[in-house]
Symmetry: C2
DNA sequence: AAGCCCTGATAGTTGTATGTTATCACTGGC
DNA sequence: GCCAGTGATAACATACAACTATCAGGGCTT
């Protein structure tokens, strides 16, 4: 009849539960820190909103009606859910107890994260990452659409909506089969690569373009027909003598402890590197924390992986 | 800082969830039936109450922040609980879908309820009784204190706070061992009882007082030393020849289909009955329903038990 | 039987929370 | 370079939840 429209407030539920527990309006009012008329009014409002009588009042006291009895539990559930909500919120409000969706390329994640996540977890126990792998372009796109909160990826496009912090430079090593004529040098003259078959990944990986550009410059052939779908595949193809390849330093550091059947070297006077950055939307409310996090990551990487990569020093970048 | 005091409203949670689903303030506002500025204001209020940023706004759209992501589920839980509350309330509001706490004496409940509850359930499927047994005095007291919503008991005290409706008269039958000298008559001259040992229940049962008063009048001895604690005990004591007894008609109707070893009769020209009533607090919001219920009960009892009891006819009592 | 203390209900008022409309400032696509 | 779309802001209206002061009745004590 006169209901419809407004929905009872949380306060009204609080009042209901308290009166139901105390069975006395004045005491309940005192417990709630409000005046007794407020309670009377609000309980009345709740009652005729619901079209039910929750309490049997008399001059000698208050009783919970059968309807009130039935509803009490549900009202308590609402308040409990509300309490949960606020507990979680309070927990989040220090910024470090949140789960962030982290995007990282498959050519990097498996070879970097195992080395640094344990230390990060030790430093910030409440911090959680939901890690998803995708190619750098997709990462960047996903960052803009909100699919990721944070991406750790080779530097790619710049965009006014994205802030990034450089983390480290990772060398790209040159690998060739052990039985290759050049497989006896630690540093190879770039000139000697001319004409080699260079294997690489599918072109949606940033990696590919970099390798392609190098090959163009040195006059090597990029073997598009044999594009691998993972670094492991790529390695197998080199071992089988199908060509040579550039492989990321962290991959080699992680996977090739005893590189039998494979020779790893570098191009003399021509260090090839990719730079990885940590990036986030500049609208992200966690941006301050992300900047701090990038410093933490640099420290950890410097400590754990300085034999494989070079940590970026300056940190006042955009 | 500026929080503390007011707690976010349910509406704010509703707004949060809707914006999180639509990721667009104007669309969410339209879905909610409010204006877009209202949403902006309320979401802002919620955010700085929580001390968190829930959304990343930009001129080109809205994204859910990591914190928002984490909280969304809990906000939905609150709204769901609130919905449950209102569903239950709506269900209750027709009055018949409630569980009422029904008190009944142990000398009546087991022999009456099995005969009438199935029919009541068939007529009012949503109606539930939480049945507790206690002696009539305790029932009456419990009704006043709110322990029961409804009692079905022999007529006892009257009280301005209690309304009652008579249901039926139940005869008290006279039982004696089969080998008793009087065990060959259907109607016994009350004079013949003088000097008999009459067994009865503990004195907190209304039953006891009635039997005691009859025995006083007829000059029989009430065997207080052998007060039984249940009608079954009482019956066993009679069978064992420890005395005679008055037993409620419904007990005999329910339990003694072939009364071997026990003779059942009545006192000639001296029908002894107890009247049972349905009673409730006159402050009970269900009083109209209870009155209707008493009529329903009378109908059912008339139909099912008219060979054992006499249903009260008038129904315009207080 | 009278009086007192306790109960919840009511009247009248006020400040604030929550909503409105009108408008701005900026982004991104065509 | 314009236009359609985004969320933010300002100024104002209203509803409502709070207060204080008071009332009316029940039941226990004297």
């Amino acid at each position: 009849m006169l209901s419809e429209g407004k929905t009872p407030s949380l306060n009204q539920l609080r009042y209901f539960v308290t009166v139901a527990r105390q069975l006395n309006f004045r005491r309940a009012a005192h417990a709630l820190g409000v005046s007794q008329p407020t309670l009377t009014t609000q309980i009345n409002a709740l009652e005729n909103h619901l079209g039910l009588t929750l309490f049997e009042r008399s001059r000698s006291g208050t009783l919970l009606s059968a309807h009130g009895h039935a509803l009490l539990h549900y009202a308590e559930q609402v308040l409990k859910a509300n309490l949960h909500f606020h507990e979680v919120a309070r927990n989040l409000s220090d910024g470090e107890n949140t789960m962030y969706r982290l995007g990282i390329p498959p050519t990097l994640g498996p070879y970097l994260l195992p080395h640094i996540l344990p230390d990060i977890h030790a430093l910030k126990p409440g911090l959680k990452f939901y890690v998803r792998e995708a190619a750098p372009d997709q990462l960047f796109q996903g960052l803009l659409t909100g699919e990721y909160d944070l991406i750790l990826s080779p530097m790619s496009q710049t965009n006014s909506q994205v802030q990034s912090q450089p983390l480290f430079y990772e060398p790209l090593k040159f690998v060739l089969p052990s039985d290759h004529p050049l497989a006896d040098q630690d540093y190879i003259d770039p000139e000697q690569i001319r004409g080699e078959q260079v294997l690489t990944l599918e072109d949606r990986h940033h990696f590919h373009h970099q390798v392609q550009e190098i090959c163009m410059r040195l006059g090597a052939n990029v073997a598009r027909d044999y594009e691998g779908t993972s670094l492991d595949t790529l390695r197998q193809m080199v071992v089988m003598g199908m060509g040579v390849a550039f492989l990321p330093g962290l991959y080699i550091h992680s996977e090739l402890h005893k590189p039998e059947a494979l020779h790893v070297c570098e191009l003399a006077d021509m260090p090839i590197v990719r730079q990885h950055v940590l990036a986030w939307r500049n609208t992200s409310p966690a941006r301050a924390f992300f900047r701090e996090l990038s410093a933490v990551m640099r420290d950890i990487i410097r400590q754990r992986l300085s034999d494989a990569v070079t940590v970026t020093e300056s940190s006042s970048n955009v």
